[in-house]
């Protein structure tokens, strides 16, 4: 499939919703590095006001994906594995993000991710990594000016849509499955498939919802291991979850996402450790 890299709007709705501002800070002879921040506005927070773990993972996916892609030129990448450990619940914002490519091999690129709370003295928010597969897109890679820059369009919105509104999330409807995401166009990436960041949000939402069903109260997705397995093209994409075990540091939840409109094709598998705020 030919990605719409020449359309500056294709696949950018998620980045614009979170207001991410990225720029390349690669030093001569050094690894590709992308830095930036996003404002942690109301549209990134859950009903309790906590920044949604899926949003943090989505921001990590966007920044690390760009870094991996630039490091892989003249080829490009698709995300395959995203590992994120969330380190704090309360986030003031803006969230600072830093993605540094650690390795580019013949078929795989690995990029380290760090996120901080710039409003809380640069307190660590998350650490993790993105592994991506290298490929040669039909029509070539995106033609980004260097150093790379992705700027937000205007200031953060005063009344942004909520997480559930923007990501078209519904819960417990229809059965089976815990959380459903309607695959509307603004949730697609330049390849025309479900954006990796939206996938991350659905994984986190599904894991947290499963934990709430298992044991009442508030939960957030702490550590996430997300494997992207196949593209979701049709939708709705439905999140299923199973509580696997409990530890002193949290509850381990297995999550899988399926494209209900494509014969329940398996889209992603994840293991999420959910924790109390």
């Amino acid at each position: 499939m030919r990605p719409a890299f020449d359309d500056p709007d294709a696949g950018r709705a998620l980045a614009r919703h979170v207001g991410i501002d990225l720029h390349e800070i690669t030093e001569a002879g050094g690894p590709i590095r992308i830095s930036g921040h996003c404002p942690a506005h109301a549209g990134t927070r859950d009903p309790h006001g906590v920044v949604h773990s899926g949003v943090i993972t989505a921001v990590a996916d966007i920044a690390a994906g760009i870094a991996s892609g630039l490091a892989s030129l003249p080829r490009w990448i698709v995300s395959t594995d995203l590992l994120i450990a969330r380190l704090r619940t309360a986030i003031i914002g803006p969230i600072g993000i830093d993605a540094e490519v650690l390795r580019v091999g013949r078929t795989v690129a690995v990029t380290r991710i760090r996120a901080i709370d710039e409003g809380a003295g640069d307190a660590p928010v998350a650490v993790g990594s993105l592994t991506a597969s290298l490929l040669t897109p039909e029509g070539g890679p995106p033609d980004h000016a260097r150093p790379f820059r992705l700027a937000p369009i205007g200031p953060p919105p005063e009344a942004p849509p909520s997480i559930r509104e923007f990501f078209r999330l519904t819960h417990d409807d229809p059965a089976p499955g815990l959380v459903r995401l309607d695959l509307e166009d603004h949730l697609r990436n330049p390849w025309g498939i479900l954006h990796g960041g939206a996938t991350a949000v659905l994984v986190a939402e599904t894991a947290e919802h499963a934990a709430r069903r298992h044991r009442e109260g508030r939960w957030y997705a702490g550590d996430t291991v997300l494997h992207f397995l196949s593209p979701a093209r049709v939708g709705p994409v439905v999140g299923h979850a199973q509580v696997l075990g409990e530890r002193v540091d949290g509850t381990v939840v297995g999550v899988n996402l399926r494209d209900a409109g494509a014969e329940d094709r398996l889209v992603a598998e994840a293991v999420v450790t959910v924790r109390r705020p």
Partner: protein, 281 residues
């Protein structure tokens, strides 16, 4: 369906090797599932009587590597990631790893591995990812399975194995663990086996957690990205705690091959919990 005995080769694993110390055996099946087992002797126990996390990671790594090589044919593989999520310290006499292929794409293989204690008690889950590489002449030729194939690595002699850390040659320092690359720990490429790297990461994370909590801890969660082979050694894992709670500590862990100009060979995140505490209800 009958199972057949087979050997991987004449020279691997060598007589004194971590897979033999585990009493490791595995069955690979034509449907691309595998079941491996280890018998938990005293040498595989951690300080609080739990099965050493490194032993479980090695079980996962060896099982996943074999299955992925079968799934990848005619291509070859390079391990790119391993995650291990235990549901608490594992106490058991036997542990089984049940592996299945989640995806075999054009560029990657993804596996899921469930860990069961004493036949049927779930104690953890793991995932492994592999990059597919064009096969080279030096790579083993993997067979097409038309029946289950069994590999078993019995201990080479009757000498009781020392504890795993001693056999590996682990040296523990503040927030760190290192070990040489020697025949006991190598993989088929002559580099430190991925499970042994995981063992060092778990030890480093445990050391860091124990120093901060003041009590024994055990590593229950690992997420590892393998970046390069550790061929020279010593290989050193150093933990940097990023979150300290009353009952657990989360660390970033960096792994370097000190004998290869300090080349970075892996990065990881790990959680170690205070031992002797029951899960909250």
């Amino acid at each position: 369906m009958a199972e057949t005995d087979a050997t991987i080769g004449d020279t691997y694993p060598p007589p004194h090797h971590v897979l033999r110390a585990l009493g490791y055996s595995v069955v690979h099946r034509p449907d691309l599932t595998s079941t491996a087992r280890l018998s938990v002797g005293p040498h595989l126990l951690g300080g609080s009587g739990e099965v050493a996390t490194g032993a479980l990671a090695t079980l996962v790594d060896a099982t996943g590597g074999g299955l992925a090589a079968l799934a990848a044919r005619p291509d070859w593989i390079a391990t790119s990631g391993l995650t291990l999520h235990l549901y608490g310290p594992v106490r058991a006499e036997h542990v089984a790893a049940q592996a299945r292929v989640v995806r075999r794409g054009r560029t990657t293989v993804v596996l899921a591995v469930d860990l069961l204690a004493d036949a049927d008690r779930p104690v953890g889950t793991a995932t492994m990812t592999f990059a597919l590489l064009p096969r080279r002449d030096a790579n083993p030729v993997m067979p097409v399975l038309d029946r289950p194939v069994h590999h078993g690595f019995a201990p080479f002699d009757d000498t009781p194995p020392p504890d795993l850390d001693t056999a590996i040659g682990v040296e523990v320092g503040p927030d760190s663990a290192r070990a040489p690359v020697h025949p006991f720990v190598i993989n088929t490429l002559g580099a430190m086996q991925g499970g042994v790297v995981a063992t060092l990461i778990a030890r480093a994370a445990t050391e860091a957690a124990t120093r901060r909590l003041g009590d024994p801890t055990v590593c229950v969660d690992l997420a590892i990205d393998y970046l390069a082979l550790g061929k020279h050694g010593p290989v050193r894992a150093e933990a940097h705690p990023v979150r300290t709670e009353p009952e657990w500590v989360q660390s970033e862990v960096a792994v370097h091959d000190e004998g290869a100009d300090g080349r970075r060979t892996a990065v990881a995140r790990a959680v170690a919990v205070r031992t002797g505490r029951e899960p909250r209800r």
